[in-house]
C-alpha cells in the first residue's frame, strides 16, 4: 500500500540565536487508516514535528527534508495550496482548547466556517452540518451548544468543538497534539474514546502525540518514541510495551500506571 | 523579565536615538551656564544689536532686546526641561503610589482612589491648570512642577492599579504570601518591579505631554515669568516677529518638537519591548 504520509529525513533547525537542531532527521511512513502514536519527553521535538507536518512551524524554526502527503511535498507548497490541504485532507487538534477558538464567535459558526472556507457556498447547510458534527462528537444538545461562545463551554466541550471542526470535512489524516492533557481525567477517557470511534468511522489515519505512553497505548497500533530530536524506537505498540529497546522507552513504560493491568 | 525588557530596549536603534536626543537636551540644560556664550538676560545694545540674524557671533541670532537666542534657549532648557522632568517624576511617583495603594489595600481606599481618578480624568487637564493659574496668578517653576505633576498622575495610577490587581492573583504572589511576606514586602519586592516598565511608558508619555503644556502656559504668560527664560516665553517674545525674524520662532519650536518626538518614540519602543518580552515568555 502506498503510504498516506511519508516523512523522509525531516530536520527542523532554529534559524537564529544558538544554532541547534530541534529535529535531527526523522523518517517514517503512515499508511491510510493507520493509528500512530508519537511519545517522548517534553522538549524532545514532538510538537515541532507535528507543526511541521501541517506547515505551521512558528517563525524562527525552519524545516528541511521531505514531507509527502498524498504524494505532494507539504514543505514546498505555497500558502494557498497548504490552506486548501489543511482542514480538508489534513487536520490538527491542539492541547489547549481555549486559545484555539475565537472568543467572540459562536462555536457553531466557527465549525461551519471550516466548510465555507473550503468551498461550501450554502451557509445554512454548513451550519446544519456543523451542528450534526457537534452531535457526533458527543456534545449534548448540539443545537443549543452551537449558539454558545467558547467561554460558555467546559474544557471538555471545547475540545469536542475543536474535534468537530477537525473532523467536519472527513480528513484523511488527523494530527492530535496532547489533545487530552488539559482535560479532567474522566473527560480525557471520553475524548480518547471519541477519537478512536471517529477514526474507525471515517477511516482516517491518526497521529497522536503525547508525553504519556498510557494515552497512546489504547489508541495506536504503532508507536514512535522520540528522544532529543530523533526517533529511537518505531514498532507496534504492543512490542514497545513488552520489549522496549531504548532506555527512554523503558522509563516511559515504567511511568504508565499498573492499575490498568489489574483491572 | 524587566531586566530583559530594558536590554531589549537597549538593542533597539530608534530607542537609542531617542534616548540620545533626550540625553543631549538634558546635558545642554545642565551645562547651560558654562556653554552658552552670553548672559541670557543681558541686553548689550537694544538699538544696534536687536534682531540680528544667525551669524558666527550669535548662532541663533538675537531677539528684540538684543539678547542671544542660543543662550536663552540653553537657559530656557534648564527651566522647561527641569519643570517637565520634575512634574514627570512627581506624576510617576504619585500615580505609582496611589495605584499601588488602591490595588493592595483594596476596600474603601480602592473605591476612593478609583473614583477620584474617574472624575479627574473626565476633566480636561488644561482646564484644571488654567483655572488654578487664573485663581492663584502666575507661578514660579516650583509651583509649576507641583501643578503639572499633580494633574498628570491619573493614567499612571490606573495602569499600576490594573497591573497590580492582575499580579496579586498570580501564584508567585501567593507563594510569597505563604512564606509570610507582608503586603508591603510583596508590593516592593514583586509587584512594583513587575509594573516598572509600564510606569516608564506612562512617564515618557507624561513628559511628551508636559513639555508643550509648560510652553503653552508660558506662551500665554501664565507660566514661567520673564526675565527667566523658558522655551514658551522665548516663543512669546518672538511671536510678533514671525515674518521678519524667523529664528525667534523656528529654534524654540524645533527644541520643543525634538524633545516631544524623542519622548514619544521612547514610549513607543518601550511598549514594543514589553510586548515582545511577553510574547517571548
Amino acid at each position: 500500500m502506498t503510504p498516506l504520509l511519508s516523512v523522509t529525513d525531516l530536520r527542523i533547525d532554529i534559524t537564529h540565536g544558538a544554532a541547534r537542531a530541534v529535529l535531527a532527521g526523522v523518517s517514517f511512513d503512515v499508511a491510510p487508516g493507520d493509528t500512530v502514536g508519537i511519545v517522548g519527553a517534553s522538549g524532545g521535538g514532538k510538537t515541532s514535528l507535528a507543526l511541521a507536518l501541517i506547515g505551521l512551524l512558528p517563525p524562527g524554526l525552519r524545516a528541511s527534508g521531505r514531507v509527502a502527503f498524498e504524494g505532494r511535498d507539504v514543505l514546498s507548497l505555497d500558502d494557498r495550496a497548504r490552506r486548501d490541504l489543511r482542514g480538508r485532507r489534513l487536520s490538527m487538534v491542539f492541547q489547549e482548547p481555549f486559545t484555539a477558538l475565537n472568543p467572540r464567535q459562536r462555536v457553531g459558526a466557527q465549525v461551519a466556517e471550516m466548510a465555507t472556507a473550503h468551498g461550501q457556498r450554502d451557509a445554512r447547510r454548513a451550519l446544519r452540518d456543523a451542528v450534526t458534527m457537534l452531535g457526533r462528537v458527543g456534545l449534548a444538545e448540539p443545537d443549543e451548544r452551537a449558539r454558545r461562545l467558547p467561554h460558555q463551554l467546559s474544557g471538555g466541550e471545547r475540545q469536542r468543538v475543536l474535534l468537530a471542526m477537525a473532523l467536519l470535512l472527513e480528513p484523511a489524516l488527523l494530527i492530535a497534539d496532547e489533545p487530552t492533557s488539559a482535560l479532567d481525567v474522566t473527560v480525557q477517557g471520553q475524548v480518547l474514546e471519541l477519537l478512536r470511534e471517529q477514526q474507525r468511522e471515517i477511516g482516517m489515519a491518526l497521529l497522536l502525540v503525547s508525553h504519556d505512553l498510557g494515552v497512546v497505548a489504547g489508541t495506536c497500533r504503532r508507536t514512535l518514541v522520540m528522544h532529543e530530536g530523533r526517533i529511537v524506537e518505531d514498532a507496534p505498540t504492543r512490542q514497545v510495551f513488552t520489549a522496549p529497546r531504548h532506555p527512554l522507552t523503558t522509563a516511559l513504560v515504567g511511568a504508565v500506571s499498573r492499575i490498568g493491568a489489574r483491572a | 523579565m524587566a531586566a530583559r525588557t530594558w536590554r531589549r530596549l537597549l538593542d533597539d536603534r530608534p530607542a537609542r536615538a531617542a534616548a540620545a536626543v533626550l540625553a543631549c537636551a538634558s546635558l545642554a540644560a545642565l551645562l547651560a551656564p558654562w556653554i552658552s556664550g552670553y548672559d541670557p538676560t543681558l541686553q548689550p545694545d537694544p538699538v544696534t544689536l536687536r534682531l540680528v540674524p544667525p551669524s558666527w557671533q550669535h548662532l541663533m541670532g538675537t531677539d528684540p532686546y538684543s539678547r542671544d537666542v542660543l543662550s536663552r534657549l540653553l537657559h530656557g532648557a534648564r527651566v522647561s526641561l527641569g519643570v517637565a522632568a520634575g512634574s514627570m517624576l512627581l506624576a510617576a511617583t504619585l500615580g505609582t503610589a496611589l495605584g499601588a495603594l488602591a490595588a493592595v489595600v483594596g476596600g474603601w481606599v480602592d473605591s476612593f482612589v478609583s473614583g477620584l481618578v474617574d472624575v479627574l480624568i473626565a476633566v480636561p487637564r488644561l482646564l484644571i491648570v488654567v483655572a488654578l493659574v487664573a485663581t492663584f496668578g502666575a507661578l514660579s517653576p516650583w509651583w509649576l512642577v507641583v501643578l503639572l505633576g499633580g494633574t498628570g498622575w491619573l493614567t499612571t495610577a490606573r495602569i499600576v492599579r490594573a497591573e497590580l490587581r492582575d499580579n496579586l492573583q498570580r501564584e508567585y504572589v501567593l507563594a510569597a504570601r505563604a512564606l509570610g511576606a507582608t503586603k508591603w514586602r510583596i508590593t516592593w519586592q514583586h509587584l512594583l518591579p513587575a509594573v516598572a516598565p509600564q510606569v516608564a511608558v506612562a512617564a515618557a508619555l507624561a513628559l511628551a505631554a508636559v513639555v508643550p503644556l509648560e510652553a503653552a502656559l508660558s506662551f500665554v504668560g501664565l507660566g514661567v515669568q520673564p526675565p527667566l527664560p523658558s522655551w514658551g516665553n522665548i516663543l512669546l517674545d518672538g511671536a510678533d516677529y514671525l515674518t521678519s525674524a524667523w529664528w525667534l520662532v523656528v529654534f524654540p519650536v524645533a527644541a520643543i518638537t525634538c524633545t516631544v518626538g524623542a519622548a514619544l518614540v521612547l514610549a513607543d519602543r518601550l511598549r514594543a519591548a514589553i510586548a515582545g518580552e511577553e510574547q517571548a515568555s
Binding site: 479532567d184 516511559l252 511511568a255 504508565v256 492499575i259 | 508567585y172 512564606l179
Partner: protein, 260 residues
C-alpha cells in the same frame, strides 16, 4: 470527636465561598479531614471539585466562611499578624505551574532566599551557604543561584519552588498539583525527590491532584473530592482495590489502561 495525637492538621466542617456574578459559589461545602504526622494525604478531584480551595484555606490564602482548621493544636483561622507569620514558616506550598509561581524578575538565589530573609533565619554568607545547600538538596547546583527562572526547564523550576518552600524548614507541605504540568518522566523524578525529602525531613504532605494514577505511588491515604465534598477517604491500597464511591470508580476507570 477528639483528634488522635498523631493528627498534624485537623479540618472541621470547612466551607469556602467565592463571590460570582450569579451570587456566591460554594467551592468547599462542609469538609472534615485529618492529616497525620509524616503521612501523605492525597486530595483528588476534577477541576471545580474544590480541592485547590481546600488547600488554600488550610494555607490561609483564602478565608473560609465557616468551619475550623487546626495545625498542631493551634486554631489557624484565629491567627493574626506575627502569630500567622510564625505559622507560615511551618506550612509551605508548591504550586502547579512553576512558570507562574516563580517571580521571573528575581534570580533563583533571591527566590530561594526570600523565606530566609522574611523570617530572619540567618543572613549574609551563612544565608548564601544555606541557599546553596538547598539547591543541592533538590538536585540543582550552587551556581544556579545566579540564574533566572526563565533559563530552566519545567522540572528544574519545580525543584526551585520546592527549595523555596524548604528554606523556612516547614513541617507540612501543600503540593497543589505540583507535578501535573510535568511530563511523565520528569513527573516520576519529582515524585522520587519528594519521597526522599519526606523521609529526610520528616515532612507531612497534602498532595493535591486531579489524576488518581499520579498519587498511587506517593500517597498513604487518598481523599476523593467532588462538588466541594469529600466522597471517599481511605488508605491508598483499599481505595484502589475496592473503591466505594461511584466517583472514585469513574476516576479509576479513566486511568489509561495498558491493553497488555
Amino acid at each position: 470527636m477528639s483528634a488522635p495525637a498523631s493528627a498534624l492538621v485537623t479540618v472541621r466542617d470547612l466551607v469556602v465561598e467565592y463571590p460570582s456574578p450569579g451570587g456566591r459559589v460554594r467551592a468547599v461545602d462542609g469538609v472534615s479531614l485529618e492529616i497525620h504526622r509524616g503521612e501523605t494525604l492525597a486530595l483528588v478531584g476534577e477541576s471545580g471539585s474544590g480541592k485547590t480551595s481546600l488547600g488554600r484555606a488550610i494555607l490561609r490564602l483564602v478565608d473560609p466562611v465557616a468551619g475550623s482548621v487546626s495545625f498542631d493544636g493551634t486554631d489557624v483561622l484565629a491567627l493574626t499578624g506575627e502569630q500567622l507569620r510564625r505559622m507560615r514558616r511551618r506550612v509551605q506550598v508548591v504550586f502547579q505551574d512553576p512558570k507562574a509561581s516563580l517571580d521571573p524578575r528575581m534570580s533563583v538565589g533571591c527566590i530561594v532566599r526570600e523565606g530566609i530573609d522574611i523570617h530572619r533565619i540567618t543572613a549574609g554568607a551563612d544565608a548564601d551557604a544555606r541557599v546553596a545547600r538547598l539547591l543541592g538538596e533538590v538536585g540543582l547546583s550552587a551556581p544556579d543561584a545566579a540564574r533566572h527562572p526563565g533559563e530552566f526547564s519545567g522540572g528544574e523550576r519545580q525543584r526551585i519552588a520546592i527549595a523555596r518552600a524548604l528554606a523556612v524548614e516547614p513541617d507540612f507541605l501543600v503540593l497543589d498539583e505540583a507535578v501535573s504540568a510535568l511530563d511523565v518522566i520528569v513527573r516520576a523524578q519529582i515524585l522520587d525527590l519528594l519521597a526522599v525529602l519526606q523521609a529526610e525531613r520528616a515532612l507531612t504532605y497534602l498532595f493535591i491532584a486531579h489524576d488518581l494514577a499520579v498519587v498511587e505511588r506517593i500517597a498513604s491515604r487518598v481523599a476523593v473530592m467532588q462538588g466541594g465534598r469529600i466522597v471517599e477517604c481511605a488508605p491508598t491500597r483499599t481505595l484502589f482495590d475496592a473503591p466505594s464511591a461511584p466517583h472514585t470508580k469513574s476516576l479509576l476507570a479513566a486511568i489509561p489502561r495498558m491493553p497488555w
